[in-house]
């Protein structure tokens, strides 16, 4: 029935696709966070029911009856005050303690973690694997602790993998780290949670949890793409993996950056009035020094890829751009 109302009415029921109501499906086994969350949920619900229940009860029971003055009752009671100070204090103490203990577990990476590096930039994630391969998705082996060491190239970003219950701000000028262990094979969302500008809500990536065997196979294959694929196809993979796709379309639509469709060899109108032909040198410069020439009608918001793309990769990208007619 809902499908018939599509696209106005969303598909899926309000309870769709999760085991629990409040939390997304977990990729880890029995996350500590979930236990603390559920404990706090139970406690707060009981407290809330108590307060609102009493409030409604009193409004009804002690509503004003004309001609009947209110009954005499005390205006203070030290024992009561101390009781309803001490009991909440104990309750919040319990929640604090559970939250703290779970947090320390979540923060303390066990020895022998599989280390990966992450670079955040406006507006894409780059994951750097031990063999030097750089990818826009996070592939991890299942059942092993993984540690991410992260930094940002520009502003503060935040890496969040809801299914793994990990979140950490990624700050420029320093390294931040987080660890997790993914037990369930599958794909999960990875989101940016620290507001970072125009495309903040588009800065998504995917976590691909694979068996160790599949992971190794993927890694080997992925790192070789420059050698195994024709240049234009390799360039297309780079276009996606390095995040170019976030801002530069290939179908002519203007995004945060100009579309790449049919630009090769054609003159580009710059914002200072000059025109320049989009040849190999222009493309190379636009990747390494993007602020040097800005196409008219666009903002100078692209950060440099110096140090992040090799010369071979630039060549592949140029071939790809040539192929986008």
């Amino acid at each position: 029935m809902f499908d018939a109302l599509h696209p106005i009415w969303p598909t899926g029921l309000p309870f769709a696709q999760t085991d629990g109501f409040w939390l997304p499906d977990a990729a880890a086994t029995n996350p500590a966070m979930d236990r603390v969350f559920n404990l706090t949920l139970v406690i707060s619900s009981l407290l809330f029911a108590l307060v609102v229940g009493l409030m409604v009860l009193f409004v009804v029971r002690y509503r004003r009856r004309p001609g009947m003055p209110p009954q005499k009752s005390a205006a203070h009671n030290l024992l009561l005050e101390i009781t309803w100070t001490a009991i909440p204090l104990l309750i919040v103490g319990v929640i604090f303690y559970q939250g703290f203990v779970a947090f320390m577990q979540m923060q303390t990476a066990p020895p022998g973690c599989y280390d990966l590096r992450v670079t955040a930039r406006q507006w894409a994630w780059q994951f750097i694997y031990p063999n030097g391969h750089v990818d826009e998705n996070l592939h991890v082996p299942a059942g092993e602790p993984v540690r991410l060491t992260m930094t940002s190239q520009d502003v503060i970003h935040g890496l969040w993998i809801p299914a793994l219950r990990v979140k950490q701000d990624v700050v420029p000028g320093r390294y931040a780290s987080l660890w997790f262990q993914a037990d369930k094979v599958g794909t999960y969302d990875l989101l940016c949670t620290q507001f970072c500008g125009d495309e903040h809500s588009n800065m998504l990536s995917t976590v691909v949890v694979q068996t160790r065997k599949d992971y190794e196979a993927w890694l080997k294959d992925a790192a070789n793409y420059l050698k195994t694929l024709p240049p234009a196809e390799a360039g297309k993979m780079l276009y996606q993996r390095r995040g170019c796709v976030q801002c530069h379309s290939i179908d002519g639509t203007a995004g945060t950056g100009p579309s790449l469709k049919g630009i090769y060899g054609k003159p580009q109108q710059l914002n200072n009035g000059a025109a320049v032909v989009a040849d190999d040198n222009y493309i190379r410069e636009s990747i390494l020094e993007p602020q040097a020439k800005i196409v008219a009608g666009y903002q100078p918001v692209m950060s440099t890829y110096k140090g992040l793309v090799s010369d071979d990769e630039i060549t592949a990208l140029i071939e790809f751009i040539k192929s986008v007619k």
């Binding site: 769709a16 409040w22 205006a75 909440p88 939250g99 947090f103 969302d189 507001f195 809500s201």
Partner: protein
């Protein structure tokens, strides 16, 4: 049933005496200043609400709905936040009701520094002008939190915005200085600290925060502006600075700021619950001390906004523990309010409706604060719609409801007109339903995986197709909520035209502001020779002829 008195207002009240525009613009009368603040603040919430509705409409459906890009959407939520926080909630109760009622409750002729009070009003107006300029120049897109280095680099008119906030900060500081001194030096004979109305204890706690916390925001914003113009590298790592330092400075003010927002509201709720239960407030001293406790402990918890910022776990632990501590005084207040209602004689006049709604909504807000204060849970819900729901329940469900309670409570005194009780109750119910419909779904989508400040959630729908359903519910609620607020405005403004004249003490309160005419004369009445217990309702009787409660000897 009753003979409503539709005669024109008394010819001489503070509204008409002294006459003339100049007398208003250069007034030192706290009542006129309070009223002018009320007018400006109401404009601010209107402006903020418009941006809120734009956000809600945009988020109703996943992709671009009414706005074409994140570029514009980021400006919508930034303006909504900054206007609501700095132009509405922070000044709302102190500058309007505080200014109006504080001297009257003390039987004083004015606040300690009337000219400083007028300066506070003009500073507020100046801040408002700067925000209008920000709108003219395309709005800011940093979020109200101005995190660096995004805010030091974005092309938006950040300096205009921070200068506006800087000016508003001084408006707040001056109000705080005025209230602290007035309460210390201008209490009447017989009114020692523990005979003061609890609203004044609340204002006192608020003023402490205004005075101690706001200067830190001022210097932070000044440094932000200096970094943008002169490249002084305090916060931008590219210039040798530390972005986390900005967060510490910013939250050192901005966390206590939320207690500036809530303490006056709690003070109003205290007054209203007592009056409309016809019962002495329960636990006076505990409520008084809890206001101070919130003010002081509130300075020690700012790091709970930064649990995942890469501050050390030890520091996180300390902030988490203190955060749970600051929840206790608020809980004490709620229990004391309930104990006041116990065996009382309760009527659901609009002020009481909003006070009860406060308890409900602030209850949700406060309890969800427990989730956020717990380190492990915060890791999951930080920067999600869960946080957005939490702070709307506390700020809008708390402070705004307190403000509305105060508005309905003191309206007859301020304007001399009584409004339709039924319309007020309908407005309260509309707001209650609309509010919960707007914000409760946001808890759900937040903990399920919806980040905040997201313009487009299309790519989240594969894993979470239910997000659109909740967003639609939320938007319906939003329009209902704003409809309720419009009804509030309508009810009150209507009373100015067709409302009966208000009596001196329509609610039967025992605080001193109800001992003068409604509206009061230009010259405040002197305090009585012997100040009584301001929560003693024993000898009050309702006089049908004058529609006023009268204290029997």
């Amino acid at each position: 049933m009753s003979m409503t008195d539709l005669s024109p207002m008394p010819s001489k009240s503070y509204l008409t005496d002294p006459p003339g525009l100049r007398a208003w613009l250069l007034t030192q009368d706290h009542k006129r200043i309070g009223l002018m603040f009320l007018a400006l603040i109401s404009t601010a919430i209107g402006l903020g609400a418009i941006f809120g509705l734009l956000i809600r409409t945009e988020l109703t459906l996943p992709g671009p709905t009414i706005v074409s890009s994140g570029h514009i959407y980021n400006r919508l939520f930034t303006l909504h936040g900054t206007i609501m926080i700095f132009l509405f909630i922070i000044p709302s109760m102190p500058a309007s009701f505080g200014n109006y009622v504080l001297p009257l409750m003390l039987g004083a002729r004015d606040v300690a520094f009337p000219r400083l009070n007028l300066a506070s009003l003009y500073l507020y107006a100046g801040g408002l002008v700067f925000f209008l300029l920000v709108l003219v120049f395309g709005g800011v897109d940093t979020g109200w939190t101005f995190y660096t280095p995004y805010s030091t680099r974005t092309a938006a008119p950040v300096i205009l915005a921070v200068v506006g906030v800087f000016i508003l900060g001084f408006s707040s500081i001056f109000t705080g200085i005025n209230f602290l001194v007035t309460i210390h030096t201008m209490r009447p004979a017989g009114m020692d600290w523990f005979r003061m109305p609890l609203f004044l204890w609340a204002l006192y706690g608020t003023a402490i925060i205004q005075v101690l916390a706001t200067p830190v925001l001022a210097i932070t914003l000044l440094l932000l502006a200096a970094e943008r113009t002169l490249g002084i590298g305090i916060f931008d790592p590219a210039l040798g600075g530390d972005p986390i330092l900005f967060q510490h400075f910013f939250w050192f003010y901005s966390h206590p700021a939320v207690y500036i927002m809530i303490l006056p509201a709690m003070g109003i709720v205290t007054e209203v619950i007592s009056v409309f239960s016809r019962k002495h407030i329960f636990g006076y001293k505990f409520i008084a001390y809890s206001s101070l406790a919130i003010a002081l402990i509130g300075f020690l918890v700012w790091g709970h906004h930064m649990f995942v910022s890469s501050q050390s776990p030890l520091v996180g632990m300390i902030f988490s523990a203190l955060t749970f501590a600051v929840a206790i005084p608020s809980a004490i207040k709620v229990f004391n309010w309930l104990a006041t209602m116990y065996k009382g004689s309760i009527t659901l006049a609009p002020p009481m409706c909003f006070a009860l709604i406060f308890i409900f909504l602030f209850g949700v807000g406060g309890l969800t604060g427990l989730f956020l204060g717990a380190l492990a849970i915060d890791v999951h819900v930080h920067d999600t719609a869960f946080v957005v729901a939490h702070f709307h329940y506390t700020m809008a469900g708390g402070a705004l409801m307190g403000f509305l309670a105060g508005l309905y409570y003191w309206w007859p005194k301020i304007t001399g007109r009584m409004y339709s009780i039924a319309l007020g109750q309908i407005a309260a119910l509309t707001i209650f339903i609309g509010f919960n419909l707007t914000y409760f779904p946001q808890f759900i989508i937040g903990s399920r995986g919806m980040p905040r400040r997201y313009f487009d959630y299309t790519r989240l729908l594969e894993a979470h197709p239910e997000f659109t359903f909740y967003q639609i519910l939320s938007t319906i609620g939003g329009f209902l909520l704003v409809g309720g607020l419009v009804l509030v405005a309508f009810t009150l403004l209507r009373s100015l035209v067709v409302g009966p004249k208000a009596s001196q003490n329509p609610w039967g309160a025992a605080t001193l502001e109800w001992q003068c005419d409604s509206p009061p004369p230009h010259q405040n009445a002197a305090a009585p020779a012997l100040v009584g217990d301001c929560y003693d309702f024993d000898n009050f009787q309702f006089d049908e002829k004058t529609r006023s409660y009268v204290k029997l000897p």
